[in-house]
């Protein structure tokens, strides 16, 4: 929005400022719910609202007891352990299969390209509850329901579309003459891949991996159905906590997760800029 010209009439001025206020309110709506849980997680009482002590900025009103509960409670620690055990393996699976397939898909002549793409993207489009229901039925048939492997496979499938999309997007700008040049100088396909292609598409691969990781780390519907109590993840624990006995520890966990998302967001943004810079360097 360009600055207000000096000749603007009064109604134009009013509209200009009220539009900014409206936008400010919408941004407030977007951000406030996330920001508000951060101070609430330091509440010294087991309440979900600001106590008078908190509003007076009295140190008495704040405490770390919900964080202590998170780090000492075995339920939460188990959930954290399970999340940390499931997400990385699922990410590894989706990234390794996904990157290979994305390279294949970006070749010039791929038969049935659209159909293949539709199948690979489908886990992102199909509602989670339907994926969860189908996986529950099918995985119980083949004995994977309620197992660690079953949850990992399910989460890997959900993460694949994100890897495909980010890596193919990076490959669109990839200069194919670089691989030809490498081949020309005697590099075999494997060397070319690791020495030339991989370093250039790495930002896309990593951000795809981060998407896949966050998908698995945040996922609750599929794990509710495919997993059993032995695979109770952090989101699952939060879900039960919210549904049954809502405890302020959830807010402490939520704050930690917000911290993690800020970290991930910053990483993805940095990678995107780096990828753009790298692409700018290669002649097209």
């Amino acid at each position: 929005m360009s600055a207000l010209p000096p000749y603007a009439t009064t109604p134009q001025r009013v509209w200009y400022y009220s539009f900014r206020v409206i936008c400010g309110l919408i941004f407030f709506f977007l951000i406030a719910p996330i920001v508000v849980i951060i101070p609430l997680s330091f509440n010294a009482e087991d309440f979900f609202t600001f106590t008078p002590e908190m509003l007076a900025f009295d140190p008495e009103g704040y405490s770390l007891k919900h964080y202590q509960d998170f780090f000492s409670n075995s339920d939460w620690q188990n959930a954290l352990y399970n999340s940390v055990r499931i997400a990385p393996l699922a990410t590894l699976l989706s990234v390794s299969f996904g990157t290979l397939a994305a390279i294949g898909l970006s070749q010039d002549h791929v038969p049935f390209r659209r159909a293949i793409m539709a199948i690979l993207i489908s886990p992102m489009i199909v509602p989670l509850i339907i994926s969860a229901a189908g996986m529950y039925f099918f995985y119980s048939r083949i004995g994977l329901q309620g197992t660690y492997i079953g949850v990992v496979l399910a989460h890997a499938a959900l993460g694949i579309p994100f890897v495909i999309i980010t890596v193919t997007a990076t490959l669109v700008g990839f200069d194919r003459s670089l691989t030809r040049a490498a081949a020309n100088m005697g590099a075999n396909p494997v060397t070319t891949f690791f020495k030339v292609q991989m370093p250039l598409i790495l930002p896309g691969v990593i951000s795809g991996g981060l998407f896949a990781f966050i998908t698995s780390f945040d996922e609750v519907v599929v794990v509710l159905f495919v997993g059993s109590s032995g695979q109770k993840t952090l989101p699952w624990q939060m879900f039960t906590g919210l549904r049954e006995q809502i405890s302020p520890t959830i807010l402490a966990v939520a704050t930690i997760l917000v911290g993690i998302s800020i970290l991930l967001l910053a990483t993805v943004e940095l990678l995107r800029r780096r990828s753009e810079r790298l692409r700018g360097m290669s002649p097209t």
Binding site: I26, L105, H109, I160, I165, P235, L242, L265
Partner: protein, 423 residues
């Protein structure tokens, strides 16, 4: 060069015709691309597509009657339900034989609960009969017709037998009919009883709430996208972070935030009471109803509206607006006749995306929706984990999946799958 080579086909270096040689190279290239894709395709087919196919199959599968009562089903084929008479001794003898085996493997209770979905009372009938049939001797205790009817009068009920006959086929449309509040009855397809008609209402509510969420997203997302597209690159990058942060934040974190905010003892009510807008005695009920679901889901899905809108609006040259104004258009006319039509593709993309995401939502409605604010997906989850009526859950899921795929196809036509961007 001699004349002979000029008239013949063009040859490659190794002497084969160039055309064939090129074709072979092309085939090899295609094969290599497919080899790279194959592992993933196989992986997705096994871990994802097969489960979906399994669900589709379960929505029509109905093996249980024929598997549990094989002889009865055969004997019942010749019975004409129009006569108004219960079946003859042959059918009852077959039933006795089947039930004795079923009781041993304890499958008769499962069959009872399956048939109970279609006609209440059958479950208890099977359980009760199972207990007595166990003690019968098949060789000597006949005739069984009187014995069964003596055991429970329901065995003389023509309607009950008709139900078994209708549901004895291996595939049934019963689950789908059930999902639209109909049922397969002896007189053909009929409406369910008044108190059992819940699914049409639920489908209507899902669509209505998804539309409400979609419109709220347009209403809130449009000004933000406009602001982002018209600010300087630096300022809009800063503000974009405010949109991306909720996008990246865990879904459960956002849902718990709303649960905390909307409670009767929560932050919003506290503020309203403090300001004096609301009396402390009657705090607003904003959670466990449709309002809670709509607010929380609008917040959760808003980034999905802003991002496509923003990317479309970025491509609209700001000079068009200035040109319109210099030709005498008022601000409103310039916006409505020049800017808005160009932003419609963005609105379309955002709307379909938000609508697709919201009709399949499960977690948020489950946590903040109470009983009035739940979607069809919550009912699917209920049938799978609580009521164990898997067939009905699968049928509801199939209908939902068909709706989503239709919208997905529309999205592909309008935006293209390849243009899906993240972050």
């Amino acid at each position: 060069m001699s004349d002979a080579t000029d008239t013949g086909p063009v040859l490659a270096a190794d002497g084969t015709p160039l055309k064939r040689s090129l074709n072979r190279a092309l085939r090899r290239e295609k094969l290599r691309a497919l080899m790279l894709i194959a592992p993933l395709l196989l992986f997705v087919l096994v871990t994802f597509i097969a489960p979906i196919a399994d669900m589709l199959f379960r929505s029509v599968e109905n093996n249980i009657v024929e598997d549990t009562l094989p002889r009865t089903v055969v004997a019942l084929e010749s019975w004409d339900r129009m006569t108004g008479e219960p079946p003859d001794e042959a059918v009852f003898a077959a039933l006795a034989e089947d039930l004795v085996i079923a009781v041993e493997t304890k499958t008769h209770t499962r069959l009872g609960s399956r048939l109970n979905y279609e006609m209440t009372g059958i479950s208890s009938l099977f359980r009760k009969s199972g207990r007595s049939v166990k003690r019968w001797d098949l060789a000597t205790d006949g005739p069984f017709r009187e014995k069964f009817i003596e055991l429970d009068e329901d065995w003389a009920d023509v309607g009950m037998w008709a139900m078994i006959q209708i549901y004895s086929s291996r595939y049934t449309s019963g689950y789908f009919l059930n999902s639209v509040d109909l049922q397969l009855s002896p007189d053909g397809i009929a409406a369910r009883e008044e108190d059992q008609r819940i699914y049409i209402t639920l489908f209507k509510r899902t669509i209505f709430m998804s539309l409400t969420i979609m419109f709220s997203c347009v209403l809130l997302g449009y000004p933000i996208a406009w602001l982002l597209a018209n600010l300087s690159a630096k300022a809009s990058n800063m503000l974009l972070i405010l949109v991306l942060l909720p996008f990246w934040t865990s879904l459960l974190v956002r849902t718990s935030a709303w649960k905390v905010l909307l409670q009767q003892q929560g932050v919003i009510n506290d503020v309203l009471v403090w300001v004096g807008l609301v009396d402390d005695g009657n705090r607003l009920i904003m959670i466990n109803n449709q309002f809670g679901t709509i607010v929380a889901m609008t917040h959760i899905l808003l980034p999905f509206m802003i991002l496509p809108l923003y990317s479309v609006m970025q491509t609209i040259p700001p000079t068009y607006l200035r040109a319109a104004k210099s030709l005498g258009a008022t601000n409103w006319t310039a916006f409505w006749r020049v800017y808005f039509p160009q932003s419609v593709p963005g609105i379309g993309a955002g709307c379909i995306l938000v609508f697709i995401l919201s009709i399949g939502y499960y977690i948020t409605p489950e946590l903040v929706g109470g009983t009035k604010g739940v979607f069809i997906s919550n009912r699917i989850a209920y049938h799978i984990s609580s009521s164990l009526n898997w067939g009905l859950g699968a049928a509801l899921g199939t209908i939902l999946l068909a709706a989503v795929l239709l919208l997905y196809w529309a999205y592909d036509k309008i935006v293209g799958i390849d243009n899906v961007k993240l972050g």
